[in-house]
Amino acid sequence: MKNILEINNVTKFYKNSVKALENVNLDIKEGEIFALLGPNGAGKSTLINSICGIVNFNTGSIKINNMDIVKNYRTTRKITGIVPQELNLESFETVWNNVNYSRGLFGKKPDHSYIEKLLKQLSLWDKKDNKIKELSGGMKRRVLIAKALSHEPKLLFLDEPTASVDVELRKDMWDVVKKLNEDGVTIILTTHYIEEAEELSDRVAVINDGKIILVDDKDKLIKKLGEKTIKIELFEPIEKINGNLSKYNFTLDQTNKIISHTYNLNSNTTDITELLNDVKKDGYKIKDINTEQSSLEEIFIKLIQENNNELVRN
C-alpha cells in the first residue's frame, strides 16, 4: 500500500526555544488507522499541527500524496482535515452555517446535499439550525468532525477525539471513526487513551519528548513487547512453592490457591506443556487455568519509562 503521508527529519522549536519535535520520521499508509500515542506535552499535537499547516516547522519535510506540504499547500490541504482537541467553535453560529463555512474555506463549491448527508450520518441533522452554544459536548465534538469532513478529505487527523467525553459517547465516536475508515479515509489519531488505540488502530507510534521512539503494527507490538501471565487455580491451598514448580518463579496469591507465572511471548523459555506436567507431577489438582496478556497501556508505560530513564542517563 502506498504512503499517503511521509514525514522526514522534522524538527520544531517554539519561540521560547523549547524543542517540540526532534528529527521526526514517519510514514503513514493509505487507508490505515494510525495511532500516535504519548504523554501530555510529548509533541503529538505539534506534529499534527505541523502537518496541517497550523504551525510552521523549522527543518525537515512533510509530503502528502508525494507532494511537499509547503510548496503544494493548496493541493495537500484540500485533501486534509483536522479535528482539534479542544471544542473550538463559534458559539453563536448555527451548525449548518459552521459546517458550510468550513467547506467554503477549503475551496469547495457549496453542496447542500452532501452537507445534509454528512449531518445525518453524524446524527446532527435535527440540530442543524441550533446554535453551537445550545449543543452538548458530545454534539459539539460531532460538529467538529462534520466540519473536518465538509470538504471530503482523504486524510483525517483526530487530535484526542474522545478527550473529556463519557464512555458511551467514546464508543459512539469509535464507530464513527471505523465507518469513516471503511469509506476510504486514512485516519491518524492522537490519544493518551491506550484502549482507544488498541480498539481502533492498525499501527501505533509512541512519541515522547518530541521524538518518535517506536512505530509498529499494533498486534506485533503487543506480541513483541507483551508479557503473558498464566494463572493456575488449585483445588487445595498450598503453603509454599517448591518441588518442580520452584524453577518457574511462580507467585502465590493471598488465598494460597492461585499460582501465577509471567513470561514473555517472544522468548522460548517457558514451555506451557512442561509447566503443566510439572504441576501434575508435584501432585497438585488444577481447578482452573487463566491467561492474561499485557495491554498496550502497560507496554506504553514501560516504553515511556525506559525512554525517560535513557534521557536522564544522557
Binding site: N49, G53, I54, T75, N88, N97, L105, F106, G107
Partner: protein, 253 residues
C-alpha cells in the same frame, strides 16, 4: 485563487455584522447625533461658518472620517483577533488559503462594514444639516481607500494583539486623538501658526482635508497631498503585512 475561501470568510464576517446590526448601527447613529447636538448647536452658535460653509455641514466629513477610521480598525482587529482568542483560527490556517486571500476576506468584510456605517452617517447627518457632495466619485474614492487602509491597519493590530485590551490601545491612544486634532471639527487655519505647523505632521489631517474637499471643495491642504498620504499609509500597511507573513507568520510560530 481560492475564491470560495475568500467568500466564506467575507460572508462569515458580514453575518456577524448582521447578527449585531442594531448595535453596529445604533452606536454610530447616536454618536453622530450627539456630535451635532454638542458641536453643531453649542459651538455652531458661536462659529456660524468656516470657509463659507455652515459649521454643522462643515464637520460632517470629519465625523464620517472619525467613524470610518475607528470602525475599520476595530472591525478588522476584532475579526482577526476573535478566532485567535477562541482558537477557531486553526481552521483558517489549515485551509488552502494564501496569506493574501486571508487578508482579502477579513479586510474586505471590515471595510464593507465601515462603508455601510459611513453611508448611514451621511444619511443621519442629512436630518440635522444640509450635506452637499460636490464630487461624489472622489468622496467614494476617499471613503473606500480609507476604509481599506485602516482595515489593514486593524488587521495588523489583530495579528499582534495579546488580549482584548491590546485591540483598544492604539485606537484610543493614537487614532482618536489624531482624528480630533486633525481638523475634524475645525480648520487648521483657525489655529496659531505654531500649531498649524504641528498639525501638518498629523497624517489624519490630510485624509480629512481631502475628504472634505470632495464635499465642499474646501481643504486645509492640497488634494494631491491628501491622496498621496492615504496611498502612502495603504502601501505602508501592505508592506508591513507582507513583511510579517514573509518572516513566518506570527500566528503560526
Amino acid at each position: 485563487m481560492n475564491w470560495y475561501g475568500i467568500k466564506a470568510i467575507y460572508i462569515h464576517e458580514m453575518e456577524r455584522f448582521r447578527r449585531t446590526l442594531f448595535q453596529s448601527l445604533a452606536s454610530p447613529i447616536i454618536t453622530t447625533s450627539l456630535y451635532f447636538v454638542v458641536f453643531g448647536s453649542a459651538i455652531g452658535s458661536r462659529i456660524t461658518e468656516i470657509d463659507g460653509i455652515n459649521y454643522g455641514s462643515y464637520i460632517v466629513p470629519g465625523m464620517i472620517m472619525l467613524t470610518i477610521l475607528t470602525q475599520s480598525i476595530s472591525n478588522a482587529s476584532f475579526a482577526f483577533y476573535f478566532p485567535r482568542f477562541t482558537n477557531t483560527i486553526y481552521e483558517i490556517l489549515a485551509a488552502p488559503l494564501s496569506s493574501f486571500e486571508i487578508v482579502l476576506g477579513f479586510v474586505g468584510a471590515a471595510a464593507s462594514k465601515s462603508l455601510i456605517i459611513g453611508c448611514v452617517i451621511i444619511l443621519t447627518a442629512n436630518f440635522f444639516v444640509d450635506v452637499r457632495i460636490d464630487h461624489p466619485l472622489l468622496m467614494m474614492f476617499f471613503l473606500i481607500l480609507t476604509s481599506i487602509t485602516f482595515a489593514l491597519f486593524g488587521f495588523i493590530i489583530g495579528m499582534y494583539a495579546e488580549g482584548f485590551e491590546g485591540l483598544q490601545i492604539i485606537p484610543i491612544l493614537i487614532i482618536t486623538p489624531l482624528v480630533f486634532l486633525g481638523g475634524s471639527f475645525y480648520s487648521i487655519n483657525m489655529l496659531p501658526e505654531f500649531w498649524q505647523k504641528i498639525s501638518l505632521l498629523n497624517p489624519v489631517l490630510y485624509l480629512i482635508s481631502g475628504f472634505r474637499y470632495s464635499f465642499y471643495e474646501v481643504s486645509d491642504v492640497s488634494l494631491l497631498t491628501s491622496t498621496l498620504t492615504i496611498l502612502t499609509i495603504l502601501i505602508g500597511c501592505i508592506i508591513f503585512i507582507t513583511y510579517t507573513f514573509s518572516k513566518g507568520y506570527i500566528i503560526k510560530d
